[in-house]
């Protein structure tokens, strides 16, 4: 495992004339909680999808866990866990059946399958609801189950694309506790969000706007350098400056 979990250099993704990702470069070191902040359509999801091997980049290079996402997608996929914006477990399967399915798909070894399943059930607080249909779960539980299914194979790097959208504040708080636990265990967590308070929880954040990174650094550092009280102010001032620059 190299020093940096994620390395991105000059990444570009075009859809026709539209530059969804426009020359983006950054690094994420191991064990870091790296936040991707920005309004809808800024290119956060597109970048994450490229890093997960779901989209191929138009230009530039991206390495995840030391593997090139364009040419070594198979190895990349074995080292990552991904949680998309949309809830993506099977509603018509029971909690346990969803876990068993992803366990099989990720190729979790037979000997540790039961322990991993119990770990995920405990983490999601679903030990007593393992036989329930997934569609019957409330938002927060669904979210935690989805996270659990994405980490069954103990991936060193996690990509969470707006994992807490549409979840109540308490469930969000619980979710972030889980993210901290995972980071403390040595995992790299790459998380996108548009909640400003969540930005404060990250070790470092990248502010994305119109396909570009307009600010990068630790939240405290960013606030200090611009002499602004909150992340929200940082966000607005950077975007206004970007608007002036391109106008």
């Amino acid at each position: 495992m190299p020093e940096n979990a994620v390395e991105v250099r000059g990444l570009v993704k075009r859809f026709g004339d539209f530059h969804a990702v426009d020359d983006v470069s950054f690094e994420v070191s191991r064990g870091e909680i790296f936040g991707f902040l920005g309004p809808n359509g800024a290119g956060k999801s597109t970048t994450i999808r490229i890093l997960c091997g779901l989209l191929s980049p138009t230009a530039g290079e991206a390495r995840v866990g030391g593997y090139d996402v364009a040419t070594e997608a198979e190895q990349v996929k074995e080292n990552i866990g991904y949680m998309s914006q949309k809830f993506s477990l099977y509603d018509d399967l029971a909690v346990e059946e969803n876990i068993d399915f992803f366990s099989g798909v990720y190729g979790v070894r037979r000997e540790i399958r039961e322990t991993r399943k119990e770990y995920v059930l405990k983490m999601a607080g679903l030990e007593n609801r393992r036989g329930d249909m997934t569609r019957l779960l409330a938002g927060g539980w669904k979210q935690r189950l989805a996270l659990g299914c994405a980490i069954l194979h103990e991936p060193p790097i996690l990509f969470l694309d707006e994992p807490t959208s549409g979840v109540d504040p308490i469930a969000r708080r619980t979710f972030w506790d889980l993210i901290y636990q995972l980071a403390e265990a040595g995992n790299t967590v790459f998380v996108s969000t548009h909640y400003m308070d969540e930005a404060e929880y990250c070790h470092r954040i990248a502010l994305m706007y119109r396909g570009r990174i307009v600010a990068l650094g630790a939240p405290a550092e960013l606030k200090r350098s611009l002499n602004l009280p909150s992340m929200e102010d940082v966000f607005i001032s950077r975007i206004e400056e970007e608007e002036r620059r391109t106008a």
Binding site: G53, Y82, S88, D100, V105
Partner: protein
């Protein structure tokens, strides 16, 4: 290719099938309903043709001819009428298909061995039925004329010359010439094609719509593992449908099954696999379930129905269309089904179409995996 990943997908698909009991019920009822519907509606046998007779002659000879019409299972003499207008009106109002007009010189012509004309008025708006009716009527009258002439000659003491040629006809494979015997096996092919394509055409589109596809694509799961896992689950369902269809054909329609039932099942499996792959290919092309459903119906039902040769003989099609039939898998399966059902043929005779079905299945499976891989990138 890892067995563990394949098995996880197959198991999940089985659960989907079992949980969605409405679709499961529809999938199992479909062969029964379609076979009964098409089997009874699609009879090509013409019998009990509604007929009026206008007998101008009124002699023992003409009455005997009318009795022949009455005695035949092909005709149903609804009434004896006294004028042309009634016959014409009967055809215009579709009450009858055939009007038989016997002229007043009929018996004298018959007895003297001259040509005895009988006028047949037919409703030609359904040309197929009309020409069949015409054929039956002509045959009946020729038989009758021959007999009457023979009798007349016997009475004159000229002995029994008999007809010059006495053809003894023996029809092989479908000796009663019942259309159901060749329609039902062909129908099984058409129905399996529809069911198989419909079963699988939704499966990938559904994963896209629910957002689960994106999740699957982020895992190490390979396209071939995903497809084979899905195919296995639907294959079991399709095989149950096949058994139901064959059972209905043999028990309800009493189609003779002369060949080896195990060989029939094996050949059906090959066809089924190809048809399921076709549904999957559609599913990878269409992103919405609705579009997949429509494409599935159109691309499976129409070619299988029109171009497989199950009712409409391929030899009678224009050359371009005939060429087109070579890429329709149902064409080969219809040949195989008719061969096994009616002729009792085995693999030594049917290896050609069987091999082509294998090629079809392999090509479509390859295209579907390729297509899925393209979508991943």
């Amino acid at each position: 290719m890892t067995f563990r990943r394949y098995r996880a997908v197959a198991k999940k698909e089985f659960l989907h099938i079992l949980r969605d009991w409405r679709s499961l019920f529809a999938a199992l009822a479909m062969p029964l309903v379609l076979l009964l519907l098409f089997g009874y509606a699609l009879t090509l046998d013409v019998d009990r043709i509604a007929t009026y007779v206008y007998d101008q002659d009124g002699t023992p000879e003409s009455r005997e001819l009318v009795e022949r019409f009455r005695g035949s299972r092909y005709f149903d003499v609804l009434a004896m009428v006294g004028d042309y207008q009634t016959v014409e009106r009967g055809i215009d109002t579709s009450r009858i298909l055939l009007g038989v007009v016997i002229p007043n010189d009929f018996s004298s012509n018959v007895l003297s061995g001259k040509e005895a004309d009988v006028q047949l008025l037919l409703d030609g708006s359904d040309s197929n039925t009309a020409s069949l009716a015409l054929g039956y009527a002509e045959g009946l009258m020729q038989m009758y004329a021959l007999e009457v002439q023979n009798r007349a000659q016997n009475q004159k003491g000229m002995g029994h010359p008999g007809p010059a040629v006495d053809a003894r006809i023996r029809v092989w494979y479908n000796s009663e010439l019942q259309s159901k015997n060749y329609i039902v096996p062909g129908l099984i092919a058409v129905i399996l094609m529809i069911i198989a394509a419909l079963l699988t055409s939704l499966t990938i589109a559904r994963e896209w719509e629910n957002g689960t596809m994106e999740q699957l694509l982020s895992t190490p799961l390979r396209p071939a593992e995903l497809l084979l896992g899905k195919l296995s689950a639907f294959f079991v369902l399709g095989l149950v449908d096949t058994v139901i269809a064959i059972f209905v054909g043999v028990v309800v329609f009493e189609v003779p099954l002369r060949g080896n039932p195990l060989f029939l099942l094996a050949a059906s499996s090959i066809f089924l696999f190809g048809a399921l792959c076709w549904g999957i290919l559609i599913s990878t092309v269409a992103r919405s379930q609705l579009m997949a459903y429509q494409m599935g119906i159109l691309s499976s039902f129409l070619p299988a129905f029109l171009l497989s040769g199950f009712v409409y003989a391929i030899e009678n099609m224009p050359p371009v269309i005939r060429l087109l039939t070579y890429i329709i898998p149902a064409r080969y399966f219809v040949t195989i089904l008719k061969g096994i059902f009616l002729k009792g043929a085995g693999p030594e005779v049917l290896w050609g179409p069987l091999a082509l079905l294998c090629v079809y299945a392999a090509v479509v499976f390859f295209l579907a995996t390729k297509r899925l891989r393209q979508k991943v990138a």
